[in-house]
Symmetry: D2
Subunit: 161 residues, 4 copies
């Protein structure tokens, strides 16, 4: 791949300190690999922590914001994309990432995992795994689960190149 | 509620005959209750069968199409809404429904269930139920599960008025 | 055309009484022709007046709302489509209309006229006409201008069937 | 402004050589000012030429693509944002730019100028000017017209900081 890889990080707008530290650390590792970090852009939870981790290590961060202004945006974004589309922007998050790492979160994160599988994007769940869901057939061929940012980086290297 | 209730039906673009019959039947019951049926508009699976069931019993059907033309649209739609937005239209499906019935499906259906819970819309899963998902906190207060179109109608009457 | 024609009415969120009366009247005529009226859904200006005109004469009105709830919606909508997409919904307005009538308005109305011409939809400007714009090549083949709701109806009959 | 300014370049998907040269040159000047270039991302016309001009002078280019894949994308994009939303992405183009330069184009370009004025973004038309439009009230306070990329840069410096 000529251009830089875009790694999407999804996850809750609220998270405990251990998760935030892991998100910060993954942001750092993405920056150190010279990849671009994409997330939902808000100054909250996994989004905010991963953006800061990348920014403080020289990385580039693109935030796909739900609002039409910078209100609520992380100050660490290189490029704040203002969509004005609310959660419909979740679809853009997924389509614009070459590979996705999902941290624990809520319904928004679940919608992004689902949309990623729908569009056949590789998804790495970090710290949890998505069980088989009766009645909902998912193509799990590109679904991975791991426990640490370091192992997520290894999976990214395997899957995205 | 002064205006007619809008019931969203989600579910797979491919489904076996037993499911299609159930979707047709739910479309019929929605029409007979003088409610409006909303779905993803395509001439396929749960969408197509539910639209036909409503149309053949005098109902009104609004289809929120992924494409920007009528290509692939069910011929039974009263109002084909052409979004040109692909799966980002899933968010519109959910926001524009007052209550949602989800049939078995795939990743698209899962994304709609997730977005509905995110927006605090009542969701009835028909023929399956969504288990607790480790790492993904969902507000399940308005999540219901049932087996038949008739019982789905009863839940709609309870929840939507 | 088997299904009912969908006529989009665009125009300002604020308008003087003479324009509002004309918009109300066009809504009435659309209803009396058994067509569906589509507009931007808000309880304001041309949107609000045209919806009321159609509703008071038995018509069906679909409102494509910018917000994700019913806040600010006209009470006369048969189907309030809640997009949560702000002005990106202007594109849906245009794609989902079979033909468009534009009343005087502002920048939002101009964006809809432009998007309609982009998608090769017939556009009737009512009470004004769009001049040639130096530097901006528009396909004007399907652009019409007229002065009265009655003559707009005649153009619709010519163009849409 | 702490972060880098984002300058949106709009204009036709087809253009003659003189215009393409001007778009290439503006892309270069944006890169040399260490600003970020945003455009519609396609490998065509003003989009393609401005992206190449910025890329060949070390700039960063964000392309807001209408499609959901890289098909048709300029090879010079740093960040290809895949929206899958067709022309609804025009609204994102405008919202995500801090200031906009519009080259001659067609209906899509006109829709972007209109949406920019709607959202009160500064717009510089380069090589043409938008006349007063009877019946369409536009807030022209932030609308500028100029003839050369160099003078556009001066207006950007005046308006955006």
């Amino acid at each position: 791949m000529q251009r830089q890889l875009i790694v999407g990080i999804m996850g809750g707008g609220a998270a405990d300190k251990a998760l935030l530290d892991k998100a910060f650390h993954l942001g750092r590792l993405i920056a150190e690999n010279n990849w671009i970090l994409l997330n939902g852009g808000r100054d909250a939870g996994i989004m905010g922590a991963s953006a800061r981790g990348a920014a403080e290590h020289g990385g580039m961060i693109i935030g796909i914001l739900p609002g039409d202004t910078l209100a609520g945006a992380s100050p660490y974004l290189t490029i704040p994309v203002r969509t004005g589309m609310g959660n419909a922007r979740n679809c853009i998050n997924v389509l614009s990432s070459d590979i996705i790492v999902a941290y624990p979160g809520g319904a928004g994160t679940l919608s992004e995992i689902a949309l990623a599988l729908k569009h056949n994007k590789p998804v790495i769940t970090l710290g949890f795994s998505l069980p088989d869901l009766p009645g909902l057939h998912l193509n799990r061929d590109r679904l991975f689960s791991t426990q640490t940012p370091e192992s997520a980086i290894e999976i990214i290297k395997d899957q995205a190149f």
